[in-house]
Amino acid sequence: MIEGIELQHILIVTTLMFFIGVYGFLVRRNLITILMASELILNSVSINFVVFNKYLYPDALQGYMFAIFVIAIAAAEAAVAIAIIINVYRRFKSVNVENVHEMKY
């Protein structure tokens, strides 16, 4: 428990973060910005895990563990994503989604 801050307040922040992330993922046109939006989603999730652990189950550790793994995997994901984005830039001379559209149904 953190004095003066209730669980709901933090949850409002993380929920906002999550949906800003989803919104950014859907409307942004730059691949790097899309990647940043997805990081926002993952970060909101790790805050969620830590907060639930701290406020609801202070004796357990599972939430903290999960948050650490989410951070680590997000880093790996960003590394591969940026490598592919660099390759996309070399191929298409742009990282804009509108230009990366060789295949459509």
Binding site: F18, G21, V22, F25, L31, I34, L35, S38, I41, L42, S44, V45, N48, F49, F52, N53, L56, Y57, A60, Q62, G63, M65, F66, F69, V70, I73, A76, E77, V80, A81, A83, I84, I85, N87, V88, R91, F92, V100, H101, E102, M103, K104, Y105
Partner: protein
Amino acid sequence: MNLHSFLLMRHELVLIAIMLIVLIAELATKDNRKSIIAPLALVLFGIHTVIGFLPMESGTLFGGMFNATPINNIMKNILNIGVLIILFQTQKTFDSELNRGKVSEYFIVLFSTLIGMFYMISAGDFLMFYIGLEIATIPLAALAAFNRHENKSAEAGIKLLLSSTLSSGILLYGLSMLYAANGSLFFTDLMHGTYTITSLHTLTLIFFFAGMAFKISLVPFHLWAADVYEGAPVNVTSYLSVISKGSAVFIFTVVLYTVFKNYAETWQPMMYIIAIFTMLVGNLFALRQNNLKRFLAFSSIAQAGFLLLGIIAGSAVGMATVIYYVLVYVFSNLAAFGVVSMIESHTGKTTISDLNGFYRTNPKLSLALMLALFSLAGIPPVAGFFGKFFLFTAVASVNTTPYHILLLIALLNTIISLYYYLMPVKAMFINKNESPIAYFKSDVFAKIGLSISLTGMVVVGFVSSIYEEILKFCFGL
């Protein structure tokens, strides 16, 4: 826990050893001898596949995070067989100038995705499940973008990676809510916990469902599938559509039948609607495709819809039919992809209209493709018929009107699918063509791969003990 119990992880341990051996072989061989790495990986993986079939005890590791049960073992063996066939088909792609330098990379990345899937299947805890899922998907994106010099491949890689990031983010958000509601993420705790089902649980279920539906490419989360399948190298496409999808279906079934057992009233109607739409959209979009890879992509979306029928049934029989259907699907889809990849690597042709008159020049390959498509469509002599038959039986055994309607819709979809599966067959056998694809001689490895899948397609259909063996270890809701 003693050292002996690590043997429960033998699939994963042997695969890690193979990865290290391939890495050392890469360091130890000279630049002009790199071509031996591909056969080396094949032989090692063959040994691994055989080891997988040795009898093994069941148990748990890491305080219940890792389950080794007979049914998990069967699932892993099915995936092993599929990967073995893909490795046979892959052998000759490394002869080309562009790919010669990256042989070992390909195999190391491929095996690491497979390790991820194995951990995911064996997970007894959502942390292990998530780690396995990510180990499986992140390298897959690298594999899809493997042809560095092709625009389409880069596009496929980035599409796969970004959409899977979003889906796993959604899934994780659901899991965090599950943690809030239950205070534990172990499957056994979640299964046996005494709690009333609140709307928080329903939210969890929906988020989890959405995340997994991305991986299995169910409608409305299927939009990435066709693009990625078309852009990725053809062997990676077959890996994506068979192994990756199969493993996701396995763990999805297990989680729904254990963790979300008490919510069956909530997830069954959801699955019901999604199954209908997946079958319909997959089939209707497949009708208008001319590119063979896109065609197979939409056909695999429709097949995923059929797989959901088995999951909806919610009985031990339902689970057994899902696993059996994946086994059949592995053989038939890999046979189809085997022929498609042979055609593409020898002639560069990728569309259905290119197949016109193919029978005149390459009769054996056209027969193989015909059998594979018959099996996918479910025409009797081959295993696909038995797969569909068992699935429909599982649904019909739940004796209520909505399930009968579902069965009817599924049957109608089979008829639609017959139409488009027969289009390539018609192109090969009936359509006239002045200049059909010339005769080519395919390499011996690809031939072995194709014959394994064709034999499997016939044998799995007729040896009913395979189904009984699977059913023995399955469990219902």
